[in-house]
């Protein structure tokens, strides 16, 4: 790319002129760089969500007359409210399991392992394979006479046939969200100064006291972020309960799927989508108040807490 040839110098001058033009117009420069992604995200992400809000107030088809019936139908139906309750219970159970298992794992890796990169990779890799495939693997394992039952048989234990039960759903969710939730746990723990833990022990606190009075409070933000990353997608999920839960473990995401794939009542589906969104927004506000930063670089784990 050494010196411009004579033939290219006209183009070169042109480029120089354009560069100079932008150099003197910082605002235009910002607009050219930030504008397109901004536009894409607003048009294809934010506006669709607003459209969903609008449609949720329309009768049976898009553009129909305004109504509140989608919401009243949903909120007065005992069946649907039971589904919401069940979804909430399952999501909370999954979040609790992830909190314990995920934090224990992240803590073990950060504090007791030297091969952190390899271990982290082993944890993250499954997240990058297909969600459905991962569920399918568990069907293989959990179904009657599947891998689990056959293994139990080998040891002379009775078969359990877990597939299509709530434990199966919990296992499935734990499996898919664990790799994602570990990342913020891990990040906040690596940012924690190990000297603080040693100082606590030096001052007479045992490992459990140190954990509850130093480690956990200082990694609070990372924990909250990880739990949000578990609870919200679980609350809106339909694949896992559909494939592993059978008919006794209906979750709200399945109701939406049903409206779009077989009942074809889009406004009603949109209203349920709004119900989920309200729960999500409420949770995010709550989480932000308790310090879990999900946006931006401000939240580098719990080191500044």
């Amino acid at each position: 790319m050494a010196g411009r040839s004579d033939a290219g110098s006209a183009i070169g001058d042109r480029i120089d002129a354009i560069t100079a033009y932008f150099r003197s117009r910082p605002r235009l420069r910002t607009l050219v760089v930030a504008g397109p992604p901004y536009a894409v995200l607003v048009l294809f992400f934010a506006i669709p969500l607003l459209v969903m809000l609008v449609v949720s107030f329309q009768t049976s088809e898009i553009g129909g007359p305004w109504t509140l019936s989608n919401y009243t139908n949903f909120l007065t139906s005992e069946t649907y409210l039971t589904v919401v309750w069940q979804t909430l219970v399952i999501s909370l159970q999954v979040t609790a399991i992830i909190a314990v298992v995920g934090y224990a794992l992240a803590y073990s890796i950060v504090r007791f392992s030297r091969r952190t990169t390899l271990l982290l990779l082993l944890v993250i890799l499954p997240f990058w394979t297909s969600y459905i495939i991962r569920m399918y693997a568990w069907i293989n394992i959990l179904q009657s006479d599947g891998v689990l039952d056959s293994t139990l048989n080998l040891f002379g234990l009775p078969a359990v046939g877990l597939l299509y039960s709530q434990p199966a759903v919990l296992i499935g969710f734990t499996y898919v969200w664990l790799p994602l939730a570990i990342l913020p746990f891990y990040a906040s723990l690596t940012n924690l100064d190990p000297d603080l833990i040693e100082a606590s022990k030096d001052l007479g606190a045992g490992p459990i006291r140190t954990f509850t009075s130093v480690t956990l409070p200082m990694t609070k933000n990372g924990v909250i972020t990880g739990l949000i990353l578990t609870f919200i997608p679980t609350f809106g999920s339909f694949i896992t309960p559909r494939l592993l839960g059978g008919t006794n473990n209906i979750m709200i995401g399945m109701v939406i799927e049903n409206q779009f794939k077989s009942a074809f009542n889009w406004p009603f589906g949109a209203a349920i989508g709004m119900v989920i969104s309200v729960v999500v927004v409420a949770l995010l506000i709550l989480a932000t108040r308790f310090g879990g930063g999900l946006f931006g670089q401000r939240s580098q784990g719990g080191a500044e807490a």
Binding site: M1, A2, R23
Partner: protein, 383 residues
Amino acid sequence: MSLLHVSGLTKEFGDLVAVDDVDFDVEDGEFVSILGPSGSGKSTVLRMVAGFEEPTAGTIALEGEEIVGKPPFERDVNMVFQDLALFPHLTVAENIGYGLKQQGVPKAERRERSERMLEMVRLEGYGDRTPAELSGGEQQRVALARALVNEPALVLFDEPLSSLDRKLRQHMQTELQRIQTETDTTFLYVTHDQEVALAVSDRLIVLNDGGTQQIGTVEDLYEDPASRFVADFIGDVNTVTGRVTDLDDDRALIDAGTGEIPVPRTAIAADVAAGDDVDVCVRPYQVSLRDAATTETDATDAFASTGTVLSRSYQGSDSLYDVDTDAWGTVSAEVREDAFRNGEDVTVTWAPEHVHVYRRDDEDRPDGGETEDRPDGGETEDE
């Protein structure tokens, strides 16, 4: 015509005046240092010369041509950055050849000139390594070679030696002088480290709070500091307080608590008037110590006080004593004799012609201890 002529240079960041009406010249072939504590505006001056900051007011002329408003890549100056800024994705030779490439120099010639530069900085055969494979001192040399190979009118240095340990820094100082002489290039060097500046510079520009305090040779600054700030900042100094009781064209009478002492007018700053409170500064090496028992303490033609030796530290050929004087508190004396012991009573004296007298102004005292190690961080502003 000076190589670099800076006049009325001012830079404001919002309400903060980082550089305030600075004038100076750099002559062809000179080694000039800009010296000042953190926040004195010295890096900002350098960045304006390089083209990374635009001045709020003032002019910068290089070889007679105004360069304010030109982007950095059109200025015939090259910089050695504080953190060196070697390109990690390029080899040493490619780093050095980068500027030549921008000028359209053919590859073979680039290679050859890089080689020659590597020889100049004594890194023959290092061309194919990457910067990460070099030691700190070697990286410094590459950064220097990268600037010099373009044969710029002026090479700028933004405290590049501050990250090196003392021994390596001293070695690089002498290398810098050698290379400057061999390449016959003009250097403008910014630092907060007076040791480096005094060792290598032909002339120094002392900045404080964005303004010029003094410009001169090392001897000028040391022997005849223009302000209390300069006296304090360049080398060590004892400062005692006093009052001017009388002043005429030849001498002043100064009472520093030991009676009125006549001091030559040349030792007194121009703005001092009769009746002013003043600081009387004297270098430790101008202070003498005598055995208290054998000296008269009521001398009226010299500053003198009795005191007790607090501590003594060995300094090679000299000894540095801290003495708790009756008149002025602690005074340092750098003397040949090593006969005094801690706790011994002594008389401290110095001649009136060795003092520098400045009007008392508590604000311009540099915070000596703090400025030593701190990088010049707060001066540049993010866009």
